[in-house]
């Protein structure tokens, strides 16, 4: 009978991830995807961005300090990667959004109009400068406080406040001009 050899610890996997960290990451994915969708304006680019952020987060798990808000930490990573991307290349022309594919020709007109109106809002957001887009998405869409958003963007609260104000007013103006244009077109079509 062979004697049992000394116990050897099981080799660690190539990328051991603590379950708790990973669970937090999974839980925050929908919000990260929404944030990234708003930043990039494209579903595919947004998911690439979130995937890159997950990989970076896992690689830097040791840098995460207990007591820090996990979602804010992840928003910061997404934002940093996105800024790096837009600095290092021209953003490709956005693809048509997948919602357009999802709409069947038999969908009631009201729903189609609703989709178009919301697409108009997304288009208006895309025209804003990156820093304003970040502020809007963090505060207005995700509901972070100014202080939390400032921590993510790594700027003073006053800067977030002014970026947000410029963004909200610009967005409002874009929506208003789009609506005025639409009603002008409607009036011409009625003639």
């Amino acid at each position: 009978m062979r004697q049992a050899g000394p116990k050897v610890p099981a080799p660690a996997g190539p990328n051991p991830v603590s379950v708790r960290f990973s669970d937090q990451l999974v839980a925050v994915l929908p919000r990260l995807r929404r944030f990234a969708r708003g930043l990039t304006g494209s579903a595919a680019d947004a998911d690439d961005l979130v995937q890159a952020a997950c990989e970076r987060a896992l690689a830097r798990e040791h840098q995460f300090q207990e007591g820090t808000r996990f979602d804010s930490w992840m928003f910061r990573i997404v934002q940093t990667i996105w800024i790096d991307q837009i600095r290092s290349r021209d953003v490709r022309k956005e693809e048509p959004e997948e919602e357009a594919e999802r709409m069947g020709s038999d969908e009631p007109v009201r729903r189609v109009e609703a989709r178009l109106a919301l697409a108009e809002v997304r288009d208006a957001l895309k025209e804003l400068p990156p820093d304003q887009r970040v502020a809007l998405l963090l505060v207005t869409v995700d509901g972070l406080s100014y202080k939390e958003a400032a921590a993510v963007a790594e700027v003073p609260v006053g800067t977030i406040m002014s970026r947000l104000a410029r963004a909200r007013v610009a967005l409002q103006a874009k929506l208003e001009s789009g609506s005025a244009e639409r009603s002008r077109d409607d009036a011409e079509a009625d003639r």
């Binding site: 991830v17 961005l49 995937q51």
Partner: protein, 303 residues
């Protein structure tokens, strides 16, 4: 007070100002109708922006992202240069919806919400509300007051469309919605990731509609006739009564008798009393609403 900047106004709308500063902004809003319209438009566009990205929250998360979050995915190499070659294409939306049937209803539940928000964007925010001529709801044989001509001005009543639109959105999203329709949830402990930017004013007492089987589900803030207002959502198991909205706003206009209206296929009853404007919105018939109005008026008189 100095000229109100957009920064201050937006911080007020976001619930970021301390009490004295918020009171100053509220006072400025009361005195300036143009500023009020501006604030209302900004508040609406914020709702529209949230709605524009709401679908993403309800989409099933692609498997590749779940794998990445668990550290099981092949790392993306050179993401910055590989932009044109998505590493792994996730399945088409329809396929994903079938795989995760448990969540697919949310997407469709969100669609009428999106439609309602869109109608607010097209209408309320930008001042293109379709002119809906008021019409009386069918009378059910219960004792009702005669139609009034002293009710709140119909000419400036786009807010009636607005509150009817939000009522529909709330009903479409369901009481446990996570579409960020409410600013103050009924259960703050279960508010989800969205922070509570605002709270009900300390002197605000919730109408008790439990005797009607109505359960408070949350509140949102809006502007009515240029002043901040609160819209309270209630639900009930009573199908004949259905979900109900109660709106309370301050006003400097004189008292008025209750007036009836029908907007967006919903019945509404609204009146002014001692510096407040009140409205009830629901699919219940006017007789039901009238009785709740009586109860509410009695409670409010008692406050």
């Amino acid at each position: 007070m100095q000229k109100l900047t957009d920064e201050l106004l937006i911080a007020y709308l976001d619930g970021e100002l301390d009490a004295p500063a918020a009171a100053e902004v509220a006072a400025a809003l009361e005195q300036d109708s143009e500023l009020n319209r501006h604030a209302e438009a900004l508040a609406h566009s914020a709702v529209a922006l949230r709605a524009a990205f709401d679908d993403v929250l309800h989409e099933p998360v692609p498997e590749r992202l779940l794998a990445a979050a668990r550290g099981e995915a092949e790392p993306q190499v050179h993401i910055q240069s590989a932009q044109a070659q998505t590493v792994i294409r996730f399945p088409e939306p329809r396929q994903r919806a079938m795989k995760r049937a448990g969540t697919s209803w949310r997407k469709w539940a969100a669609l009428p919400v999106a439609a309602s928000v869109a109608s607010l964007v097209i209408g309320g925010t930008l001042g293109y509300f379709a002119a809906t001529s008021p019409q009386l709801a069918p009378v059910t044989g219960q004792l009702l007051p005669p139609p009034t001509t002293t009710g709140p001005q119909v000419a400036s009543s786009s807010w009636l469309d607005n509150i009817a639109g939000y009522h529909k959105m709330f009903v479409a999203a369901g009481p446990n919605n996570d579409v960020n329709l409410v600013d103050v949830p009924a259960d703050p402990q279960n508010a989800g990731p969205r922070k509570l930017t605002q709270q009900l004013p300390p002197d605000f007492r919730l109408p008790n509609l439990k005797p009607w089987g109505l359960v408070f589900q949350g509140a949102r803030f809006l502007f009515i006739e240029g002043r901040p207002a609160t819209q309270l959502f209630y639900t009930t198991d009573n199908a004949a009564l259905g979900p109900l909205t109660v709106v309370v706003a301050s006003t400097n206009l004189p008292d008025s008798n209750p007036a009836f209206d029908r907007r967006n296929d919903l019945n509404e009853i609204y009146w002014r009393h001692q510096g407040h404007i009140y409205a009830l919105v629901g699919s219940a018939d006017i007789g039901y609403l009238w009785n709740i109005h009586n109860d509410l008026a009695w409670q409010l008189d008692a406050i």
